[in-house]
C-alpha cells in the first residue's frame, strides 16, 4: 500500500483507492464527509464514475491503516489502485488521457470552425454578393486554415505514415479531400472566384473527428490485462541486511534465501515462507476467495497476495520472475495474443472501401479531364465532390455511435463495458463457461448452521462485532442479536479475537486457538466460539448461489447457448452447484492451464465461448475466451482481464448485455446498409458532376445524422431479457 502513495512536489502524498460499494451521491457525501473529519487526511475526493477515491495525505508517510479501517467500518471497504494503469482499465478517462483529450480538443476546434464558417456560408448562399461575399470568403479562409491545420492533424499524420509505408488507409482519401478542398478554395478566394468550399472541408473534419473521438473513447478503455496486473505488483521489497536493518531493494535483485519484511496492507512481492510473525493473508488476487486466511511461521505465501494484519518477516523461495503470479501473467499474455487476431467490423469494411474510393475519384478526375478537354479546375471540383461524398463519415460513425449508446445503456443496467469490439464479440457467442466460486456463487461467507444457547449467541455477537474479519462480519450478520458488553477486546492476527465478557475470557476464531482455553471437539471446523473452560460451538460456512444465476443460465440456454462450469474446486461441490443449475457439463479440479486448454479446444472447434470468472486463476481464461465477463466482486486480476464487469451483485446483467450486444450488432448492420445505400445513390450523381462540394458536405452530414439517430434507438428498446431494475 505504501508503494502506491504518490508524492507531489509540495511534499504531500496522495493515494488512489478503488471503492466497489460507491453507488450514489449519498455514498460520495458520506465518504468525503467522514474523511474530511479526520486529522490524518488533508483532502479526499471521490470519483463516482470510476468508483474511486483519492486521498491527499498531510505527509507522504502518514499511516494509511487507520484510514482504510475507518472506511471499512463505514461500510466502504477499499483496495488500493496503482496510481497509473488500473484507473484507465476501470473505464472513463483518467486525468491525462493524452490521445483522447487531443482528439476532443481537435473536435472542439473543428466544431467552432464549422459552425462559424457555416454561418458565413449561409450568408453567401442566401444571397450576399459582391464585396460582402469576397470579405466573407477571406474571413472563412482566416478561420478555416488554422482550423484545418490543427484539427486535421490526426488524419494528415495517419495518411502520411500510411503512404510512407506504401499502404493505403481510410485517412488517405480523407486527407486528400480536406487538403484539396482547402487549397482549391484558397485559390478561388485569391482569384476572386464565386465558389469556395471551406464549409465542406471543415464540416467534413468535424464529422470525421466526432466518429474518431467516439471510436477512440470506446477502443482505448481496453488496455492489456497483463500490464494491469504487472502494475499492481510491488516494485521492490525491504530486504534484511547483514547488520539486521531492512533496506528497500528493487524486486529483480531480491535473491532466493533473502529475508524480507512485509508490513500490513502491502502485497507479497515474491513467493516466500514466513519465518517470523503471524498475520492474515488476503488471497483474493490469486484465488478470488475473499475470506482471508491465517498464516504463521512456516506457511508459504504466493506473490500478489495481500498482507492484512501483522508485520511479518519471510524467506524468499524463488526469484520474482518464477512466482505463481509471474507464471499467470505469462500465460495470460500468451492467451491475449490469440484474441488480438480479431478484426473489428469497421476495420474489415474500411479495408475493402479505401481502394474503391481512390479509384473512383481518380477515374472521375481523368474522365472529366478527357471529356472537358483539359479543364482541370472543373475536373478537380468533381473529383473532390466524389471524395467528399464517399468520405466514410457515416461509416466511421456507424459502429462507434452504436457502441457508445450501447455502453451507456449497459452502464445504466449495471454492466461496465471496457472495449467496443467486446460488444461485437459478445453478439457472436455460441457457448458459455462459468467459474463457480465467486461467480455462480457469492464469495461472501454465509453461516450454514450453528446450534448454540442464548449466552453463547450474545457473546459471539459481541466478539464478531468487534472484529473486522470478513468471517466475523458474516457471523454478526447471521446472529443478528443483542451483543453482550465486552472489555479488553484484542484481535490476534491469524487466530481470531479475544475479550472478557462478565469476567470470563472468550475467544472467537480458529478451532485450535480457541481450544487453548475452551474444550473443542476434535472434528470441529470453521470459526469456533467458546468461553474459557466451556465446550465451544462452531459456525459452518457455506456458499450460496449468486442471485440471478438460475435465470441467466436459463436465458442463455433458451437462447441456444449451452452452459458449462469450469472450476478449480473439488468434484463434490462443483457437482452440487451444477445440479442446482441443471448444468450437465461441469469440469472440476481445473487449473488455469486446464481452463485455457478447454477454451482452446472449443476455439479449434470453431466455437465462440463467453467466459465468466472472477479469480486470478480465471484471469488467463478470461483473456483467452472469445469474450469475457467478471462480477464486481472479482479479484483485481479478473476485473482487469474481463471485457465486461458486472457492477451489481446479481448476474442478470450477463443476459441483458448479451441481448444488447445482439441489438447493437443489428443496428450496426442497418447503419452500414444505410451508409452504403447512400453511397449507391450519390456516387453516380457525384461522378456525373451533378453535386457541388457544399451539397456533398450537406448530404454527408445528413447521412451521418441518420446513422446517429438510428443508433440512438438502442436507448429506446424495451428490455425483454431479464428485469432491468
Amino acid at each position: 500500500m505504501r508503494a502506491d502513495v504518490c508524492v507531489d512536489e509540495r511534499g504531500t502524498g496522495s493515494i488512489r483507492f478503488s471503492v466497489a460499494n460507491l453507488r450514489c451521491g449519498g455514498c460520495v457525501a458520506t465518504v468525503e464527509h467522514a474523511l474530511r473529519e479526520r486529522a490524518d487526511v488533508a483532502a479526499a475526493r471521490v470519483n463516482l464514475t470510476l468508483r474511486q477515491l483519492v486521498i491527499t495525505l498531510p505527509q507522504p508517510d502518514t499511516d494509511l491503516v487507520p484510514i482504510v479501517d475507518s472506511m471499512a467500518a463505514l461500510g466502504f471497504p477499499v483496495t488500493t489502485v496503482a496510481s497509473t494503469g488500473l484507473s484507465e482499465v476501470a473505464g472513463g478517462a483518467p486525468a491525462g488521457a493524452g490521445m483522447g483529450n487531443s482528439l476532443i480538443r481537435a473536435l472542439a476546434v473543428a466544431g467552432f470552425g464549422a459552425a462559424n464558417i457555416m454561418a458565413l456560408s449561409v450568408g453567401s448562399w442566401a444571397g450576399a454578393d459582391g464585396a460582402t461575399r469576397t470579405t466573407f470568403h477571406w474571413l472563412s479562409a482566416v478561420i478555416a486554415v488554422p482550423v484545418v491545420l490543427y484539427a486535421g492533424r490526426p488524419f494528415f499524420s495517419s495518411a502520411w505514415s500510411a503512404l510512407r509505408s506504401r499502404r493505403l488507409n481510410m485517412d488517405v482519401p480523407i486527407a486528400l479531400a480536406v487538403g484539396l478542398t482547402l487549397l482549391l478554395s484558397l485559390f478561388e478566394t485569391i482569384s476572386g472566384g464565386e465558389h469556395v468550399f471551406y464549409d465542406a472541408a471543415v464540416t467534413l473534419l468535424f464529422f470525421l473527428l466526432a466518429g474518431r473521438t467516439l471510436d477512440h473513447l470506446m477502443r482505448d478503455r481496453a488496455r492489456s490485462a497483463v500490464t494491469g496486473l504487472e502494475r499492481m505488483m510491488p516494485r521492490g521489497a525491504h530486504v534484511r541486511q547483514a547488520d539486521g536493518s531492512f533496506v528497500w531493494a528493487a524486486i529483480d535483485t531480491v535473491q532466493p534465501g533473502a529475508a524480507i519484511a512485509i508490513e500490513p496492507g502491502a502485497r507479497i512481492p515474491v513467493d516466500c515462507t514466513i519465518s517470523e510473525g503471524i498475520t492474515d493473508i488476503d488471497r483474493a488476487l490469486v484465488t478470488g476467495e475473499p475470506m482471508s486466511v491465517a498464516a504463521g511461521p512456516g506457511d508459504t505465501l504466493e506473490a500478489g497476495t495481500l498482507n492484512l494484519t501483522g508485520t511479518i518477516v519471510a524467506r524468499v523461495l524463488r526469484p520474482a520472475g518464477q512466482s505463481f503470479l509471474a507464471q499467470i501473467i505469462a500465460m495470460q499474455g500468451a492467451a491475449e495474443t490469440g484474441r488480438g487476431r480479431y478484426v473489428r467490423i469497421a476495420d474489415r469494411v474500411a479495408r475493402l472501401y479505401a481502394p474503391f474510393v481512390h479509384i473512383a475519384a481518380l477515374m472521375t478526375f481523368l474522365g472529366w479531364l478527357l471529356l472537358t478537354d483539359g479543364d482541370w479546375r472543373r475536373a478537380l471540383f468533381v473529383a473532390i465532390s466524389v471524395l467528399i461524398i464517399t468520405c466514410p463519415c457515416a461509416l466511421g460513425l456507424a459502429v462507434p455511435v452504436a457502441h457508445v449508446v450501447a455502453a451507456g445503456r449497459l452502464l445504466r443496467m449495471g454492466v461496465l463495458m471496457k472495449d467496443g469490439s467486446a460488444l461485437e464479440r459478445l453478439a457472436e457467442i455460441d457457448s458459455a463457461a462459468f467459474d463457480k466460486t465467486g461467480t455462480l456463487t457469492t464469495g461472501s461467507p454465509i453461516i450454514g448452521s450453528a446450534a448454540m444457547g442464548a449466552a453463547d449467541r450474545a457473546g459471539a455477537m459481541a466478539l464478531a462485532r468487534a472484529s473486522g474479519h470478513p468471517a466475523a462480519k458474516a457471523i454478526a450478520r447471521y446472529l443478528n442479536c443483542e451483543p453482550d458488553t465486552i472489555v479488553d477486546a484484542q484481535e490476534v492476527p491469524g487466530n481470531g479475537i479475544e475479550a472478557r465478557i462478565g469476567g470470563r475470557r472468550a475467544r472467537l476464531g480458529r478451532a485450535a486457538w480457541v481450544g487453548e482455553v475452551a474444550t473443542v471437539p476434535a472434528d470441529m471446523e470453521g470459526p469456533v466460539f467458546g468461553f474459557e473452560g466451556q465446550v465451544a460451538t462452531a459456525f459452518a460456512l457455506s456458499e450460496t448461489l449468486r442471485p440471478g444465476a438460475v435465470q441467466v443460465v436459463e436465458a442463455l440456454r433458451s437462447g441456444g447457448v449451452p452452459v458449462s462450469i469450469l472450476s478449480g474446486d473439488g468434484a463434490t461441490r462443483v457437482d452440487q452447484i451444477a445440479a442446482l443449475l441443471d448444468i450437465a457439463d461441469a469440469v472440476p479440479d481445473a487449473s488455469p492451464a486446464d481452463k485455457i486448454a478447454w477454451l482452446e479446444r472449443r476455439r479449434s472447434e470453431g466455437r465462440h465461448v463467453l467466459m465468466v470468472g472472477d479469480g486470478l486463476n480465471d484471469a488467463p481464461a478470461l483473456a483467452a475466451a472469445h469474450v469475457s465477463m467478471a462480477p464486481a466482486s472479482a479479484s483485481d486480476a479478473g476485473r482487469t482481464a474481463a471485457d465486461f464487469i458486472l457492477l451489481r451483485e446479481r448476474l442478470e446483467g450477463i443476459a441483458q448485455a448479451w441481448w444488447i450486444s445482439r441489438r447493437t450488432a443489428g443496428i450496426v448492420r442497418q447503419n452500414f446498409a444505410a451508409a452504403f445505400g447512400y453511397n449507391v445513390v450519390t456516387i453516380p450523381l457525384a461522378v456525373a458532376g451533378m453535386v457541388t462540394p457544399l451539397m456533398a458536405a450537406l448530404a454527408m452530414s445528413a447521412s451521418s445524422i441518420v446513422v446517429v439517430a438510428n443508433a440512438l434507438r438502442l436507448n429506446g428498446v424495451s428490455e425483454q431479457n431479464g428485469s432491468g431494475r
Binding site: V28, L50, A93, A108
Partner: protein, 67 residues
C-alpha cells in the same frame, strides 16, 4: 451590411474566448467524474468548506472588501 463587420468579429472573439475556456475545463479535469458531479450538489452542506491543505485558497485574510 457594414454593421456585420463589427458584429461578426465581436461574436468570433466571444467564440474564441469560449473555446479557450473549454480547453481550460478539459485541462483542469472538469469532465473527469460527470456522474459524481451531478450528484454532488444534492448533498452540499450549508457551510463553506474550509480547506486544511496549505494551498492558501481559503485563507481568512482574503475576506476583504474590494478596493
Amino acid at each position: 451590411m457594414t454593421i456585420l463587420f463589427v458584429l461578426i468579429p465581436v461574436a468570433l472573439c466571444l467564440g474564441v474566448v469560449g473555446l479557450l475556456v473549454f480547453f481550460w475545463t478539459m485541462r483542469s479535469g472538469q469532465y473527469d467524474d460527470l456522474s459524481g458531479d451531478a450528484e454532488r450538489i444534492l448533498f452540499d452542506e450549508d457551510t463553506p468548506l474550509i480547506q486544511r491543505s496549505n494551498d492558501g485558497r481559503q485563507a481568512p485574510e482574503q475576506d476583504r472588501p474590494q478596493p
